[in-house]
Amino acid sequence: MHLDSSDLAAIWLTLQLASLTTLLLLIIGTPIAWWLARTRSRLKGPVGAVVALPLVLPPTVLGFYLLVIMGPHGPVGQVTQALGLGVLPFTFAGLVVGSVVYSLPFVVQPLQNAFEAIGARPLEAAATLRASPRDCFFSVVLPLARPGFITAAILGFAHTVGEFGVVLMIGGNIEGKTRVVSVQIYDHVEALEYAQAHWLAGGMVVFSFAVLLLLYTRRRAATLW
């Protein structure tokens, strides 16, 4: 094995970042997706577009704005400083914020699709049985939308693992704090350490394939049911 301690640190950090980001996205993304699936508001279009923005924006745009907005002169930076938290760039917390923005559509869109697929009928049925809206959501919607949640979690996790440009722009390449696998690979390539780059890069290919295989075989299984 050609992996040294800094490679292992990068892998561990990447897994932590992706797990935490996925968890936060499921918490934040569920109400957004629910609202988008059910609303008849005129705001549905604009909100849906904002959620989808990270799909089409280059990571440099996200990274640049995050760097400026979270920096000491930016609005978010002013707030975090006032709260005594310092500024977010170059910190693990900053990467989490960046990743949540970056992977948002990958979690919200599968959830929204799942909620829309349930339709109104099961909810109406539950309501006639005097289930409260809250009860409805937890006992009817969540179980029915389970495949959507699994897809959302897998995509959010995998997409965060594959994040590069945003981390590069706001991370500062600090070992154990902001140097994730994709940046570590970039470093190895730049320093001509191709053997180490191969181990990590090959690992990423295998990991990504395995994740997508899991996703697509699950999908097939789901449609067969």
């Binding site: 920096g71 500024v87 390449n173 730049e190 001509l192």
Partner: protein, 252 residues
């Protein structure tokens, strides 16, 4: 009818111009961005040839060139990568020369933050110090040498944030995310003075000289514009521009 005639004329003129004037693809180290833009403008005016520049980290260009990138001239940030390319027979033999010797500056976007002796480093009251990645960028390596020489490497190490190129290191400082950072003097200096903020011009004795070498790459062997550009880079006119950005030019 007349529109058609005009467009014919334009097309003919463009063709004629392109027959005489060639284009050369130049890979340029990020620290040399500003002088390169000035030199390219002047070069086109004086010779009619066009130098099309790509800016980036030297290490990255090296990898790209080895893997067939279409660059014809390489202006590196060090003397190591051009020498390696030469040894690997990726260059026109004998074309390698030092086009500029870089100066390192400790720079802050805030006025008065950095004193002219660099004492701010010893005070160590900042949160982040930005440098370029020392593995890939010569200015980053020079920065770590300075910290070693000053005996501050251990104390400051936890505060170091790395940009992938010297341009990104400067960006961290310019946005205020790092209070100060080691950058190329050329990034913050024009016509004998700082363009903004405050800086300490790091004495050259504190780090190995940052010799920046240029080389004509194998792909530029038969392009007259490649040779013309390198000749122009050696001219007194180009030397004036290079010096105005705070570089030194070694005697030819």
């Amino acid at each position: 009818m007349s529109v058609l005639r005009v467009s014919f004329c334009l097309a003919a003129a463009t063709l004629a111009a392109s027959a005489a004037a060639a284009e050369v693809q130049v890979a340029v180290a990020a620290n040399f961005t500003a002088p390169m833009q000035a030199i390219a403008r002047q070069f086109e005016q004086d010779t009619g040839h066009k130098a099309v520049a790509a800016f980036g980290a030297t290490g990255q260009f090296y990898s790209q060139i080895k893997n067939g990138a279409p660059f014809e001239v390489f202006l590196a940030a060090d003397d190591d990568r051009p020498a390696r390319l030469e040894a690997e027979q990726q260059t026109v033999p004998g074309s390698r020369f030092t086009y500029a010797v870089g100066s390192l500056a400790l720079w802050s976007a805030q006025d008065g933050y950095v004193d002219d002796q660099g004492a701010v480093l010893k005070k160590n009251a900042f949160r982040h110090l930005a440098i370029a990645n020392p593995k890939a960028a010569p200015y980053g390596l020079a920065a770590t040498q300075v910290l070693d020489k000053l005996g501050l490497a251990e104390a400051i190490k936890p505060k170091i944030v790395e940009g992938q190129s010297i341009a990104q290191a400067q960006q961290f400082v310019a946005t205020g995310n790092a209070e100060l950072g080691f950058v190329a003097l050329s990034q913050v200096y024009k016509d004998g003075k700082l363009t903004s903020g405050s800086a300490w011009l790091v004495p050259a004795a504190l780090h190995d000289p940052i010799r920046q070498d240029a080389v004509i790459l194998a792909k530029g062997k038969d392009n007259p514009a490649a040779q013309a550009f390198v000749d122009y880079l050696k001219s007194p006119k180009a030397a004036e521009i290079i010096k105005s950005y705070g570089y030194q030019v070694s005697a030819p």
